[in-house]
Symmetry: C2
């Protein structure tokens, strides 16, 4: 029996370029539109928010984009990350399937997020930017950007949704440990925040409002830019460092996946892993490869939403993005998988879904925690609520193999640990978590408010 | 410049044997004594608590003790662990010193503890034991043993100090996730617990009382044993898997340490790393090697206590152990570095200290957190409060090198991350932590109660 449990690369093997799927699309991505004119946005529209290198990456169709050595030097702190063979889970399930997981939880903030956070801070620093603002919900992204700021000496200001700021202090303290300034949103420091506090002094906040505050502050100060942790093309680009490593490691393990599963919120974690593989499906080398995007039943963007132009934020400040969407004023129900509550989805994933290269599936919360507990008791790692979603699907597929007798190779994109999410496990064990299916009439209501495109 | 940041081994290189320092002592360890007779305890005295293999390991003078393949297979889930070169910390300190740290935080429970937890559960399972009890303070050990129980299907019951059970829920939930039964101590489930609850219904508990409860339950049930997470010889033996890896990795990095630093509570983490190196000092190969044990100023066992026979627990249930001690009814002051509050110290470390092979130093809490924050902002990793103690000393030694111009090689035994200790960082940032020096009269008072040895 092949006992090998971990497949690793030397740090010299950290990829030297990111892979840009835009070079290999059979048809190009629909453009991002200016909400005022209905015309594609140009670099000048984005320059107050992002450095020019990132704006170029956003629209580039070059296949390979070089990773600067300064970024690779920071990646060395935790990359390349390990590919695990889940021998103990396989044995527990009594399945002929071979289960692998690529684990991103070994980064200092404990997830895949620093792959892009470090890159974004680097390009901003190169352009002379001294401060970066961002928003964060549960805190994964805010802590990753704070870590990135510490790496390059750039000041980070995080607007954290107030209710999370109060109820989930651990990620906030992490941000402070890395030297960032984390404030609850709504804050008195922006017009948007002050307006809300005047109407509703105890407002618990929302991700949409936090985005508005971060963008407002970035636009109003010359030394300050804004950073986004998912959805955008350049974010997915940076995350491909993970998929490129995984492809090399699967070769080391002498396998190619039949099925790849990952959870999607904004989509950057899973896309980062699967994009270098989906290329093989687009070019016809691996026509049978299945790529399953897993979302929560409570925010069923891909499985229930239409493919339409919508705002990226709740307040309607961003350009219009063509994506599967539940409507930009979608209010997600209480669910602990904080990273999977976004109303939209990365345009790259939506495009691939629309073209039929990837699948989507929605899962109920309780079943995902059950899968997470099974994983912890076999493989040891306590997973964040987000990757529990794809663990559920991986286990289902492995059990199908048990029935059919097929020895399929299943690859899991494991985005990180749940050390600061233990309260969610406590709620699960205490019977306090509930399943929640988003009601059709609420979706219809939100979709009725999709923006009109000027000139159409 | 040597850019290499991480030094790793393949999982096939996980050591095949643990190293037993008892083979190389210039004079043998003082025996453990029966408190009733004053005579050395024999295997029969320990058999109600421990499996015979562990009892043999406790007194063995064989240099190498084979690691069973079943244990190595579990070690494969996270071992070998990585040796890091702290380039960014060196640059920040502007020191010619080369700083390395061996990091044990990548294990599922996040510390070195599972190195012995997995082994202890294995040997118990081999002897047909179905249940293991233990105590835990902040929860590091309890969660590691719970993980070990999940690995081999052995039921784990953890008596957790009540105040920690209430105030530090994250580790408790981790234990539950791995399937263990964690109860607050004092509990109504033992005589010792009931007696305390009758006197003091809201008793916050203590580690000593939790030990009493765990031992009482183990002794009273044939299917149940007891496990201890530090101090004992067999625990330190299992931890040498880390030191043996480190020695190989330092060779890969083409260096040998001038100074090794680690924090000590019971002592197993640091001893596990330094024992394979101290051998070189004992045999005269490396006479100048310095090994610095770092303890908190608030529990200054090695730097202030006498070398004397004392009980291992507060209640006086254990055999008498010759060690540096602050007296078995030492009550540690409130300090967040939960793992460093023990009144005694591993006999192996005490013996080496007494023979002059290792040094000891005590540090104040605030300075250790300052060091931890510096480390987080340079190397990324947010450390547990315990390793912050040795980070403080490593930084001090690196700064001495800056003054003297010496390019010394400093090796840090980094026992784990602080993801579930963020409340301590919050208290530090909020100015709520205080330094605390243990008053001389309190030490004298505790030492006046050292047990008499029958027959002497």
């Amino acid at each position: 029996m092949d006992k090998r449990t971990k497949f690793t690369l030397d740090e010299e093997e950290i990829p030297r370029s990111w892979y840009n799927i835009q070079a290999d699309f059979p048809e190009p991505l629909p453009p991002i539109l200016h909400p005022g004119t209905g015309k594609p946005v140009g670099p000048d529209d984005l320059a107050p928010l992002f450095p020019m290198e990132l704006i170029k990456q956003e629209v580039s169709t070059e296949r390979w984009i070089e990773i600067p050595e300064e970024i690779r030097d920071i990646y060395r702190l935790w990359r390349p990350t390990t590919l695990f063979r889940a021998h103990r889970l396989e044995k527990f399930l009594d399945t002929p399937a071979k289960i692998f997981y690529k684990y991103e939880g070994s980064s200092p903030p404990g997830s895949h997020k620093p792959n892009t956070a470090v890159a974004q801070v680097y390009y901003n620093k190169q352009e002379g930017i001294k401060r970066i603002t961002t928003e964060t919900g549960a805190g994964q992204w805010g802590s990753a950007l704070s870590f990135g700021g510490a790496c390059f000496g750039v000041e980070i200001k995080v607007f954290m949704v107030a209710i999370s700021y109060q109820q989930k202090p651990y990620r906030r303290i992490m941000m402070q440990t890395w030297g960032a300034n984390c404030v609850p949103s709504p804050s008195p420091e922006t017009k948007a925040g002050r307006a809300m506090l005047e109407k509703w002094p105890d407002c618990p906040g929302s991700l949409g409002l936090a985005i508005s505050e971060a963008v407002e502050e970035a636009v109003s100060r010359d030394d300050t830019h804004y950073a986004l942790g998912s959805v955008l093309n350049h974010v997915l680009l940076h995350q491909t460092v993970n998929g490129l490593e995984t492809k090399k490691l699967m070769e080391k393990a002498d396998v190619y996946p039949d099925i790849i599963v990952g959870c999607i919120g904004g989509g950057s974690n899973f896309a980062g892993l699967f994009l270098p593989f989906v290329k093989d499906k687009i070019d016809g080398t691996k026509p049978d490869l299945r790529i399953i995007n897993v979302e929560p039943m409570s925010a069923p963007t891909m499985t229930r939403g239409p493919y339409a132009y919508d705002f990226g934020d709740t307040a309607g400040l961003t350009p219009l993005i063509k994506m599967f969407t539940l409507g930009h004023d979608f209010i997600p129900p209480p669910i602990h998988a904080g990273g999977l509550r976004y109303h939209g989805m990365a345009p790259i994933i939506c495009h691939l879904y629309n073209l039929g290269f990837v699948e989507a599936r929605a899962e109920h919360q309780l079943a995902t925690f059950e899968a997470g507990v099974t994983f912890a008791r076999t493989e040891g790692i306590i997973s964040a609520p987000e990757p529990n979603h794809c663990l559920k699907v991986a286990i289902d597929e492995a059990l199908k193999c048990k029935e059919s007798g097929e020895a399929k190779t299943i690859l899991i994109a494991h985005s990180g640990h749940g050390h600061v999410d233990m309260a969610a496990y406590d709620a699960y064990f205490g019977g306090k978590l509930k399943d929640y299916e988003y009601p059709k009439e609420k979706i219809d209501e939100a979709l009725a408010k999709l923006p009109e495109i000027p000139g159409e």
